[in-house]
Each structure stands twice: as C-alpha cells, then as structure tokens.
C-alpha cells in the first residue's frame, strides 16, 4: 500500500542513456563493480584464514586450488579489483574536498586509476613470483 505510493511519488535520477558515455562514467561503474567483486572475493580470504587455522591438510588443499591456472587468474583479478577500488577510493577522498572535479582532472584521475591499478597489480605479482623463486 505505502509501497506502491512511495514508488510512484519518488523521483528517480534521469536515465543514464541520455548522456554520452565518457571514461569518467565507465570508471564510476568500474569502481562499483570492483567493490562488489571484492565483497564476494572476501570469501577467499576468509576460507584461506580458516583453512590455515584448522589443519595443514586444509591449508594445502586451498593453496593447491589457488595454484591452478584458474585459481591464479581469480587471484590476479582479485588483486586488480583491489587496486582499482583502492585508487578509486583515493580519488573519491580528493573529490570530497571539492578538488579535482574539473573536466581535465576528472579525465586525468580516470587514466591514472587505470594505469595505476594495472601497474600495481603487475608489480605485486612480479614481486610474489620472484619471492617464490
């Protein structure tokens, strides 16, 4: 009853499709999607921690899964989502101060987030591979 009324009277923002797609908009979507990926990806970290706490056998089992090609791909994607969301979060903190909202800065932040997140992901994985020898 109240539900139907609320829906009819509450205004929704203009539909996205009226705007020309820009990189900044794509990055906004990517920030949200990477956040959702990390949300469910936390299951992997929890699984790993619980396995470490229970027995060496459980721990070896999940590490074995992580060591397959699919496992590595998932972890690599998780790392990228993490750095993408982290840099996007820093961008949001800068925006919160009222700075960096201009046309040039917006585009710059979008590019820096892409380049930065890919670079950080690759660097972290290279260090990991080197440490494992």
């Amino acid at each position: 009853m109240a539900d139907a009324k609320m829906r009819s009277e509450r205004p929704l923002s203009p539909h996205l499709s009226v705007y020309r797609l820009s990189l900044v908009m794509v990055m906004s979507g990517a920030h949200r999607i990477s956040g959702a990926v990390l949300y469910f990806g936390m299951l992997l970290l929890v699984w790993w921690l619980v396995a470490a706490s229970t027995s060496p056998r459980d721990f070896d089992f999940i590490n074995g899964l992580f060591d397959t090609w699919i496992g590595r791909l998932v972890l690599f994607g998780f790392t990228w989502a993490l750095f993408h969301h982290l840099l996007g979060g820093i961008r949001h903190l800068i925006w919160d101060t009222g700075r960096g909202l201009g046309k040039y800065e917006r585009e710059l932040f979008a590019r820096l987030t892409i380049i930065g997140s890919i670079s950080l992901t690759v660097v972290v994985w290279l260090i990991g591979i080197m440490l494992r020898g």
Binding site: Y39, L49, V50, L93
Partner: protein
C-alpha cells in the same frame, strides 16, 4: 501529539545518511594503509608452508593488523553493498530481504575470519 506528515506518507529521510557517508569515508581512510600492509604480508606468505604461515599470522602485530583490516574492510563493504542494493532493488520486500542478507553475510565473514585469526594466535 501529531505525527509528522513525512511519517504518515512514508516519505522523507531515514536520518542515517550522514552517518553512512561518514563511516564509509572513515573506513576508506583506514583501509588504505591496512590493506596495503596486509597485501605485503600475503605476498610474503604466498607459497610458504603451513607452519611458517601460521607462525607469521600468529605474531601479535600481524594478528592485530589483520583484525583491524578485517573490521574496517567488512564495515566498509557492508555499507557499499547497501548502496548498491538501495540503488537497484526497488521492490520493498526484496530490498529488505537483501539488506538483511547483506548484514548477515558481513557478520558471518567477520566472525569466521576473526575466529581463524584468534585460533592461530592462541595456537588452539
């Protein structure tokens, strides 16, 4: 003894928006160093045998850091998912169910991971 119009009509704000915004920002700031430190630890631990991993995770500084990261990240992710649900799910019933599921999922993740860290630290 009069109810305000916004309550009668079921419109108006829930009066928790500022706190939501603030805690999301607070945990963003906390997450940056905490997640960075945990990434360093996890990379260092990758491929290490169980005994070495448990020995490192059981150190007080590492365990406390891990718990702090989990706390901040889980509060943050719950608020973030709440925004996603509220943006895309307009049916009141489904929205309430998903918001509850979001809270339950976050608490389950938090309890399981905290249990694991404590268990490792105390060598149980």
């Amino acid at each position: 003894m009069r109810s305000s119009l916004r309550n009668v009509r079921g419109l108006g704000s829930a009066r928790s928006g500022t706190e939501h915004f603030w805690i999301l920002r607070l945990t963003t700031v906390a997450n940056i160093p905490l997640v960075a430190a945990v990434v360093v630890i996890l990379v260092a631990l990758s491929g290490r045998p169980h005994a070495a991993v448990v020995a490192t995770l059981g150190q007080p500084t590492v365990a406390i850091l891990m718990l702090a990261m989990l706390w901040s990240v889980i509060v943050h992710m719950r608020l973030g998912m709440q925004v996603i649900i509220e943006d895309y799910v307009h049916s009141e019933g489904r929205k309430v169910v998903l918001l509850m599921a979001n809270t339950f999922f976050s608490i389950a993740i938090g309890l399981a991971s905290a249990f694991a860290v404590f268990r490792i630290s105390f060598g149980l």
